[in-house]
């Protein structure tokens, strides 16, 4: 029996206790299956060579896993994260054929990150789906494909073939028609085609007034309609996922997150985002007070309009002709958050779609818009 080895074991165990904040008896239990074992060894106790070997091996493993996270009281972000994970697991455990709507924006990025956490070490057991209006920023499409490939997740993309055949676009048909045909109708087509009974969406209750009243599990009838006056009660963390054939659920795991929570979480977790969120020199034209980026040559320039390079970034991502850029010098995430916090207008203002009248989003959602 070698006393040098025993004293080394004890001192290394004590060091580990100090580093990880665990008590020596906890470590003793892990190494020797006996809470007082290390204390006895310290007082000159002996043990068999076999036990020493196995303890030394366990100690090495513990030292290697020394990065283990020590829990503190949960912060508000921890709680939001846990709630979202709970919601996602519930869908996977209860629904037959779920899908995650992936819009490539920052909320989708957070939602996808949460999905990876929720099912780790399994991969999220559902595909991603992107409804491509064909007018998204090119950079979004590239980012989307890289993400799906990197994660090894199945990506379904869908564009409304009728809309494409008729050449529907925001410049020719206006934002309302374009959004209805290429987004709302396209989404319904895709959900019907794949017979999904649950679709995750990244909407948040703080975005808009009617969203504030929507359930986490939002029931849609076979026509995808939302009935705001007849929603299922949602108590505790018990979600009624039962639907009949053809009916479905839209599920919003980020319901209780705010815009600041999203940014803070992206920063904390270092979640990758499309570069469009950061300021860079981009070709833009100013139209009706909104800065529109000329992302491709489908954009008809009006008389006197000349694209000029300006330092701009985007607060939300969508169809490039419908998404206003903001002038900015923020080239890092903290700078973007800083600007966001210093700004005095709410996030969706950059979207052309919401600003007609107060209840507009409620009407659109009743029709099946996400």
């Amino acid at each position: 029996m070698n006393n040098m080895q025993i004293s080394e074991l004890v001192s290394r165990a004590e060091k580990l206790a100090g580093q990880t904040g665990q008590s020596l008896s906890t470590i003793s239990r892990k190494l020797l299956n006996d809470g007082k074992g290390l204390a006895r060894l310290k007082d000159g106790g002996q043990l068999t060579l076999k036990t020493l070997e196995s303890a030394a091996q366990k100690l090495a493993e513990l030292e290697q896993a020394g990065q283990a996270v020590t829990p503190k009281a949960l912060t508000h972000l921890d709680r939001l994260e846990a709630e979202s994970i709970h919601i996602m697991r519930e869908v996977v455990a209860q629904c037959q054929n779920p899908v995650m709507l992936y819009s490539v924006g920052k909320d989708s990025a957070v939602m996808l990150h949460l999905a990876i956490k929720a099912f780790y070490p399994s991969k999220p057991p559902f595909p991603l789906m992107h409804v491509d209006t064909t007018w998204k920023f090119r950079e979004m499409i590239e980012f989307r494909d890289n993400m799906a490939k990197g994660l090894g997740m199945k990506l379904i993309t869908h564009s409304n073939p009728d809309g494409i055949a008729e050449g529907v676009g925001p410049f020719t048909h206006g934002s309302a028609v374009h959004t209805d045909i290429m987004k709302t109708q396209a989404l319904k087509q895709a959900l019907d085609m794949h017979k999904f009974d649950a679709a995750f969406g990244g909407a948040r209750r703080d975005e808009e007034k009617s969203r504030a009243k929507e359930r986490v599990f939002s029931f849609r009838n076979a026509q995808h309609r939302w009935d705001p006056k007849n929603q299922r009660p949602e108590l505790w963390n018990i979600y009624n996922t039962n639907v009949a054939k053809g009916e479905s659920m839209r599920v919003f795991p980020l319901s209780n997150w705010t815009e600041l929570d999203i940014w803070q979480y992206i920063y904390k977790e270092q979640i990758p985002l499309p570069g469009l969120y950061l300021a860079a020199k981009r070709p833009v034209v100013e139209r009706d007070g909104t800065l529109i980026m000329v992302d491709d040559d489908r954009m008809p320039l009006e008389e006197g309009e000349v694209p000029e390079e300006r330092m701009v970034r985007f607060r939300t991502l969508g169809c490039y002709p419908l998404t206003g850029a903001v002038e900015s010098e923020a080239t890092t995430l903290p700078e973007v958050i800083q600007e966001m916090l210093l700004t005095t207008t709410s996030e969706r203002q950059g979207r052309v779609i919401d600003s007609d009248h107060g209840a507009s989003m409620e009407d659109k959602k009743a029709e099946g818009y996400f």
């Binding site: 009281a73 709680r79 709970h86 070490p121 958050i337």
Partner: protein
């Protein structure tokens, strides 16, 4: 006040030290509270005030509210803060809050989620919805009217849903010049009424939501009030310590099985802490193991705490599925299938005692029924009334019975493991919600013995598959003769067998039973239970009983595992059996000497889907036994298990 006084304003640190600002905000704690009060008590105005004063309103939102205020506002030319909150178009038009809305704001210390809930009696269910996730309830009263019927109702619902902290916000004090005596009067009356509601703590604050006094800033108008402002209270109230010290519960949501080498149990910790190495027990199975790892994407944890979403890996390969609750061995959850509960009905369609509903807890859905409505509770005065049914927004004390046991705690001990929703099986609507008071079974806290030796071990020791051959047919059809031959053949093949028939059971176990329908049902129930025990012992059992009723045979089948129950219909026509009349019983029955004789004056219900049918007219008993053994071999029952 002018708009610029309250427009969105930012923390100086945002511009100066954004990284420091982010770090400090990452550490914020979290509180969910609800506001309740009747239509004119100023609830939405109060929330609007909190959002407004914490500078959470952007210029564009303010602009839209300014224009709406002029159109539909109730404050004349002034800004109607309630418009910030009343979201749905119908609500803005009618000027009332119909549904629960969730609002978000944060201060330096905390992030808040506010459930804004409607006041009318017909929206009791909406208030309960908001209360179910809240830790604090702000009950508003109009200082001019004091404690009203709705104040009592809101307080009762808050207490029913398990809220421990209540703020009585005595609003509109500006209209009474902040009269201290009026405030004291209201406080006294409220505390008197609320003393039986089981709140942990009640705080009363005089305020004016319209002007902001004692909401976020101390009002000069009520210098006599030395207590906290509402926001101070909300920032400091401690709702966590009361949840500490409870035993560990992990309701298993999902089994995480990425490959054959990993099997984890995912869920959100409902209460308590857990560390690797600690012993756990699974309820209801009673199986035990130790925690090997607490897996999260961010790395394995040394300890998991309440509300964390985790994946547990155990040291032993034990069978756990969604619906089970992993508990600490000191103080595990109880398990039962019959409960006394409080149910709040949420549907236009009234509740029917006896109807089958689905009952969903945090992680398990089980069919069952409400067996009795003991009484209804009047939400306004808490009186107990007799009732046959529950209508929308009514609360009742009900007994429920589930078809299988679930793990649970009393709601007062644990909101996460003591709650359930009631789902209509046809419409899939959530028609009610409930809180478990206690189990109706006496043996509720007896944790089932986790036997090291199980059915599988016993069967494999005997190298066989347990099965029950259930022979049914008329008296004299040849059941016992065939069953005896089958047993002999199996015995010869080295199988461990037993035979249960009328002769060896009616003389002992069932000698207290006669031949009425009720006794026949009980006879078969006992025989089924006995057969089940024998299967558990690993035996192949031949059960030979007339067992005339389909429903009893079905019950026997459902008691056993899939494939264990093999129904053998010994199909002999009544004339043939009567002609044989081996024991002379038909003659006696015809002569009226025996009552309730199957086939004569008591029905025999033929099996519809028997696994094996034996026609004794065409086949000898020996041939019949051969046919049965051949069937067993062909269906894999004679392989070495």
């Amino acid at each position: 006040m002018s708009k610029t006084d309250y427009a969105y304003e930012t923390d100086a640190r945002i511009a100066g030290d954004i990284l420091g600002y982010l770090e400090s905000h990452e550490q914020k704690s979290f509180l969910r509270f609800l506001t309740c009060g009747s239509v004119d008590d100023g609830k939405s105005t109060l929330i609007g005030r909190l959002l407004y004063d914490s500078k959470m309103i952007y210029e564009d939102q303010l602009a839209s509210i300014e224009s709406d205020s002029k159109k539909v506002g109730t404050q004349g030319e002034g800004l109607d803060l309630a418009l910030l909150v009343d979201g749905l178009a119908a609500e803005r038009e009618q000027g009332i809050t119909i549904d629960v809305a969730y609002r978000f704001f944060s201060t330096e210390k905390r992030k808040f989620i506010v459930a804004d809930t409607p006041g009318h009696e017909q929206y009791t269910r909406n208030m309960a919805t908001g209360a179910s996730t809240a830790d604090v309830a702000i009950v508003l009263v109009d200082a001019r009217h004091g404690v009203q019927v709705q104040t009592r109702r809101h307080s009762f619902i808050a207490s029913l849903l398990g809220i421990r902290h209540v703020v009585l916000a005595v609003n509109k004090m500006d209209l009474l010049d902040f009269s201290q005596s009026r405030f004291n009067e209201i406080e006294e009356e409220y505390r008197g009424f609320a003393k039986d509601l089981g709140f942990g703590e009640i705080t009363c604050i005089p305020m004016s939501a319209l002007n902001g006094d004692n909401v976020t800033a101390r009002g000069e108008n009520a210098a006599w009030y030395k207590g906290q402002t509402l926001l101070e209270y909300l920032e400091n109230v401690d709702v966590l310590s009361e949840k500490e010290g409870r035993p560990f519960r992990l309701p298993v949501q999902w089994v995480n099985r990425p490959n054959l080498d990993f099997r984890g149990f995912s869920g959100t910790v409902a209460s308590g802490h857990i560390k690797p190495g600690e012993e756990i027990i699974v309820i209801p199975s009673g199986k035990r193991s130790r925690v090997k790892e607490i897996v999260t994407y961010g790395g394995n944890l040394d300890e998991a705490v309440p509300d964390q979403a985790i994946t547990l890996v155990l040291e032993d390969e034990i069978d756990i599925s969604r619906g089970d609750v992993i508990c600490s061995t000191d103080g595990p959850a109880e398990q039962s299938d019959q409960f006394m509960t409080h149910i709040l009905w949420m549907s236009q369609q009234e509740m029917f005692p006896g109807r089958q509903y689905l009952f969903k807890t945090g992680n398990k859905t089980v069919p069952g029924s409400i067996t009795a409505l003991k009484h209804t509770v009047n939400v306004n005065d808490l009186n107990e009334d007799a009732g046959k049914t529950l209508h929308l927004n009514e609360v009742g004390v009900c007994n429920i019975s589930l078809i299988q046991p679930i793990a649970f705690d009393a709601y007062k001990d644990n909101r996460k493991t003591g709650s359930f929703i009631v789902i209509d099986r046809l419409t899939n609507e959530t028609v009610g919600v409930g809180m478990i008071d206690f189990s109706l079974r006496r043996a509720d806290n007896v944790v089932w013995q986790d036997l090291e030796v199980g059915k599988a071990q016993r069967a494999s020791q005997k190298h066989q598959k347990p099965a029950a051959l259930w022979f049914t047919g008329l008296s004299g059809s040849g059941k016992s003769t065939i069953a005896n031959l089958v047993e002999k053949k199996l015995y010869d093949m080295g199988r461990h067998t037993y035979i249960l028939d009328g002769d060896n059971v009616r003389h002992g176990l069932n000698k207290d039973l006669g031949f009425t329908d009720a006794d026949r049902v009980e006879n078969i129930r006992r025989v089924s239970e006995t057969a089940k025990l024998m299967l558990d012992a690993g035996l192949m059992v031949c059960v030979s009983f007339i067992s005339p009723f389909r429903s009893e045979r079905q019950i026997a089948r459902s008691m056993m595992e899939d494939g264990e129950f093999i129904e053998v219909h010994v199909d002999t026509p009544l004339e043939v059996a009567e002609m044989r009349d081996v024991k002379g019983l038909y003659a006696k029955a015809r002569a009226g000497e025996i009552k309730n004789f199957t086939g004569i004056d008591s029905p025999y219900e033929e099996p519809m889907h028997a696994e094996i049918t034996i026609n004794t007219v065409d086949m000898s008993a020996e041939q019949a036994a051969e046919k049965i053994v051949t069937w067993l071999a062909a269906n894999g029952y004679l392989q070495e298990g």
